[in-house]
Structure formats: structure tokens, C-alpha cells
């Protein structure tokens, strides 16, 4: 069998096995855990094992098949899927913006040492700004700002917050990758009197790919977090973040409901990571196996 197919099957099997294991662990804790939580040395550390805090796995799964609201016919899985799809598109836009900005900044820093020294500390600082503080500001652009004659849409603010988290790993990973080119190969390009741009596209970028792939994976999940947090903190309608806060309010009466949305968010993250993994397989298909 094709080794690639084999690897995909093996990884999928591992993934399913891990899911089953976590579900079993969850149920096991529900059996042995204290109903109303427990304290060790006066500190509350054991989560409550009652069904309001920790619904049974099968309750969560069966909740997908029931309608979202008593008054509506729409099954909840459709609502969650639609929300995940909405947020997925926002995350994708955020990821694209973040990756582009990240690669551009890395290239600039690789080209000019001065820029690297001046800019890199600010990039690090930028990541310490809490997203929740930034979200209302960026969201307030919606409807107020005009870019090239187009009104700034509210959803784009969520994407921008995703991009804000996504650009950083890409910038750092790409910068590291661009400087990873073999000195002998750089000397070879010099001997061809190659220009900086020629060296960039023919040597530095291809050499950077193994460093960029893990950075992009991180960026993909970061952009999901950015978008979901932006949705939650600003109440943007239509996405999975909004569903999570709405359903969380109903947690006392319908504890399984919020978990359906949480798993929806997880699915979203998986889809984004899957896209990067596919990109990885594609660009690295001809590299030596050690590099994979």
C-alpha cells in the first residue's frame, strides 16, 4: 500500500483511539469523582462530577439530534455546523491576513538587520496585549471605517483579531527559516552573482519551508482562537463563539447544550490544522524523508 495512505490511516486510527480514551476518562471520573466537587488541603481542586457540570458523553452526543430551541424545528447539529462554518471562513480570512503579514515582516527583517533589531521586540510585546482588551476597539471600526470606498464590515474585525494572533508565529518561524539556508548554498548563489530577490525565492524560501510549516500550524489554531474570542467578547452573531456564550447561559437547564458548541469549535480548529497539514504534504512531497 502507498506509505502516505498508510500514514493517514494510522494517524486517523490514533486520533479516534484518543477520542475514545478521553471519553472513557470523562465517564470514569464521573463514577469516582465527588458529586459536589472536593477540596484537598482546603483548596477546591476536584471538579464536580454531577450531571449539570459534567454531562454524560452520550447525553452530549444525543443532544446534537434534538432541536436547538423547544420552539424550533432546527436540529442543533445544523445550527452548530452553520456556526462553525461561519467562524471557519472568518478564521481562514484571519489566517490568510496573518500569514501574509507574518511572511512580509519576516522577509523585511531578514533583508534589513536594522528592521529586525527595531521591530522584533515590538512584535513580542504585541502578543502580550490581551485580546479581550483589543477586541472592542477593533470591532468598533465596523460601520465607522471606510477602506477604499468600502464600509468596514463587522465580521472583518473578528478576522483581524484572528490575524493579530496568527501573524506572530509565522513572522518568527519564517525569519528563523530564512536564515537557515546553508552557507555553502549562499556562497554558490553569490558565485552566480544572484540578486537578493533571486536568492530569496530560489534558496531562502525553499529552505525556510520546514520552519514555516509548524509556524503555520500554530497560526491556524491561533486565528481560530482569535476569531472565537472576538465573537464572544463582542457578541458578533452567526459564529460558533456567539453560540458558546448563548448556550452557556442555559447550562443549568440544558448542560449538554454548551458542549455541542464547544465541540463545534474544536472541529473548526481541526479543519484549519488539516488544511495546513495538507499544504505540508504538498510542498514537502519531494523532500528527503528525514525532513518530513
Amino acid at each position: 500500500m502507498n506509505p502516505l495512505v498508510q500514514r493517514v490511516i494510522r494517524r486517523s486510527a490514533m486520533f479516534v483511539a484518543a477520542l475514545v480514551f478521553i471519553a472513557a476518562l470523562w465517564e470514569f471520573y464521573k463514577v469516582i469523582g465527588p458529586e459536589d466537587g472536593g477540596a484537598l488541603f482546603g483548596v477546591n481542586i476536584f471538579p464536580r462530577a454531577n450531571s449539570r457540570a459534567m454531562p454524560h458523553v452520550w447525553d452530549m452526543l444525543s443532544r446534537y439530534g434534538r432541536p436547538e430551541l423547544r420552539s424550533s424545528e432546527r436540529k442543533i447539529w445544523r445550527v452548530v455546523l452553520a456556526g462553525a462554518w461561519f467562524s471557519f471562513r472568518l478564521s481562514l480570512v484571519g489566517f490568510a491576513i496573518g500569514a501574509t503579514v507574518g511572511v512580509a515582516l519576516a522577509t523585511l527583517m531578514a533583508r534589513f538587520k536594522v528592521v529586525e533589531r527595531g521591530l522584533l521586540p515590538y512584535l513580542v510585546v504585541s502578543q502580550t496585549v490581551p485580546l479581550i482588551a483589543l477586541a472592542p476597539l477593533v470591532v468598533s471600526w465596523g460601520g465607522k471605517l471606510e477602506v477604499f470606498g468600502y464600509e468596514w464590515p463587522r465580521w472583518l474585525s473578528a478576522s483581524v483579531l484572528g490575524a493579530f494572533l496568527a501573524f506572530f508565529p509565522v513572522a518568527v518561524g519564517t525569519l528563523r527559516g530564512l536564515s537557515s539556508a546553508n552557507p555553502a548554498s549562499l556562497e554558490l548563489m553569490d558565485s552566480y552573482a544572484a540578486s537578493w530577490t533571486q536568492t530569496l525565492f530560489r534558496l531562502r524560501f525553499p529552505a525556510a519551508v520546514p520552519f514555516m510549516v509548524p509556524a503555520l500550524k500554530l497560526a491556524a489554531s491561533s486565528s481560530v482562537i482569535g476569531v472565537v474570542v472576538a465573537e464572544i467578547s463582542t457578541g458578533l452573531k452567526g459564529g460558533i463563539g456567539r453560540l458558546i456564550i448563548e448556550y452557556a447561559r442555559e447550562a443549568t437547564g440544558d448542560p449538554a447544550k454548551v458542549f455541542t458548541a464547544v465541540f463545534g469549535a474544536a472541529l473548526l480548529g481541526l479543519a484549519m490544522a488539516g488544511l495546513v497539514a495538507a499544504f505540508d504534504l504538498y510542498v514537502m512531497r519531494h523532500r528527503p524523508k528525514e525532513a518530513l
Binding site: N182, S185, A193
Partner: protein, 267 residues
């Protein structure tokens, strides 16, 4: 007209600092068109530095370098030479063909012209069936042959090689030496070849330039009088041994080491 002309060349690293190194002192050397010249000497004698100065990858502290009738810089810009290193240095992400075409791409050749040339080069290094392989699928010797094909792709009049066969096993190495000579005979390329190995230098060269360290300088130039086509029996001829002895004595006379000729292999 000489292909390479070096006169009163000095190269000092870290000038004025405590770790100042006189890499080359008053080096003069002229290499005629079609000549095969080896640079040999112990580590630190400046043979690689000299090669890089000719290639304009380093700037001399003082002195003149003329390559193909121009300044070293101009001939680098015009790609008048090809270069091969100890590590083949092929790009993992390019096929053998694409690796050979790299210098042509950089020169702005169109696709058809590049493909015709890379096919020609693959024939020359006897690897036509590996055109679409990737470098990591080839043995070390084959990779080095691709590197030579890449260095010669633009048909440069001059080939600069820095211990290109240093990482190969003995048998592959002797085979590659014969291949290189036949390629140079076909193309009429002038070669400057840096090596650690006395028999390699003697087998390949018209002249062996013996260098010694601290400071790096040329101590002797040995003419190798092996006429005509060199083949397997060349290595058994008395002239071959005579030249090896001459180079070894020159290395010993060069001194600079308590144990003379350290770092130079007899194999």
C-alpha cells in the same frame, strides 16, 4: 592569453586585531587557458582563500586579480567561471535537471534553451536517466557529478573546485578523477583545483602549486610531465611517482610544521 593572473596578492583577516591572520602573502600565479592547476598544502595554507579570491567571493587586501581578461568582480558578474565545493550543495527541492538549470535561470535563459543545455550536461556527466530524480535519491558520487554539470552548465571557460571529491570513497574518487579529466578534455575548460591529496593533484594536473602556512604562500610549482591521455595505467608509471615525490619534497621543504606536510594525505 592567460585565464587567471594573480599578482602580488595579499589577504589579511582581522587586520590589526590580536587574532590577525596573514592568509596569503605576496602570491603571484598565472594560469594559461586549458591548463589544469591544483593548489595543495596543509590546512591553513590559504589554498581555499586563494580560490575564493579568484572567484571574487572574498576581496583581496592588496594585489591584482585578472580573470578572463577582466577584474575578478566583473568576471563573477559575467559568470565566467563555474564553482564546485566539497559538499555537492544541490538544492533538495529541485530535480537533477532543475539543479543543473539553476545558473541558466539566473542568467535569464528561456526554457527551451535551458532544457537543451541540461540534457547536454547530463549526457556529459553520464546521468541522463536521472534527469527527474531528486538529489537525495542519488549516491554521493552521482550528486558530485550533478554539481559538476551545474558548474559547467553555462559553458564557463574556467572551473573552480574546492576539494570536490574530498567526501567520496577512494574508488568513487578515482573514477570521478578520470571522469573530470575526460570532461575537461571535451570542453577545453581551465581548472583550478584545491585538494589535500598528493596523488589526486598529480594525476589531474599540468602543474601542482605547493603552498605552506603561516603566512600562506606559494613555496613551489611542480610541473607534472605526464603527456597525453591519462588513464588507469598512469598511476603505475614512474613519471607519476616521480611527480608525487617532487610534490612531497616541496611540501616538506615548505615547512611551517614540526611534522611536515601535516594535513596532506598520501593516498
Amino acid at each position: 592569453m592567460s585565464t587567471v593572473s594573480v599578482s602580488h596578492l595579499n589577504k589579511i583577516f582581522n587586520t590589526g586585531k590580536t587574532n590577525q591572520v596573514d592568509a596569503l602573502v605576496d602570491v603571484s600565479l598565472t594560469i594559461e587557458k586549458g591548463e589544469f592547476v591544483s593548489l595543495i598544502g596543509p590546512s591553513g595554507c590559504g589554498k581555499s582563500t586563494l580560490l575564493r579570491l579568484i572567484a571574487n567571493l572574498l576581496e583581496p587586501t592588496s594585489g591584482d586579480i585578472v580573470v578572463a581578461g577582466k577584474s575578478a568582480k566583473q568576471s563573477r558578474l559575467d559568470q565566467d567561471y563555474g564553482m564546485a565545493f566539497q559538499q555537492a550543495g544541490l538544492f533538495d527541492w529541485r530535480t537533477v535537471t532543475k539543479n543543473i538549470e539553476l545558473p541558466l535561470e539566473l542568467k535569464g535563459w528561456d526554457k527551451a534553451k535551458r532544457e537543451a543545455r541540461s540534457r547536454e550536461m547530463l549526457e556529459l556527466v553520464k546521468l541522463p536517466e536521472f534527469a527527474d530524480h531528486f538529489p537525495w535519491q542519488l549516491s554521493g558520487g552521482m550528486q558530485q557529478r550533478v554539481a559538476i554539470a551545474r558548474a559547467l552548465a553555462a559553458h564557463p571557460p574556467l572551473l573552480l573546485m574546492d576539494e570536490p571529491f574530498g567526501a567520496l570513497d577512494e574508488m568513487t574518487r578515482e573514477h570521478m578523477q578520470a571522469e573530470l579529466l575526460s570532461i575537461c578534455a571535451k570542453t577545453g575548460t581551465t581548472v583550478v583545483f584545491v585538494t589535500h591529496s598528493i596523488p589526486e593533484a598529480v594525476y589531474l594536473s599540468n602543474r601542482v602549486v605547493v603552498m605552506s602556512p603561516r603566512p600562506g604562500r606559494i613555496t613551489k610549482i611542480v610541473d607534472v610531465k605526464l603527456d597525453g591521455h591519462r588513464n588507469e595505467t598512469t598511476r603505475e608509471r614512474p613519471e607519476f611517482f616521480a611527480a608525487i615525490t617532487a610534490v612531497r619534497e616541496a611540501l616538506r621543504a615548505g615547512g611551517g610544521h614540526a611534522h611536515t606536510g601535516a594535513g596532506v594525505e598520501d593516498r
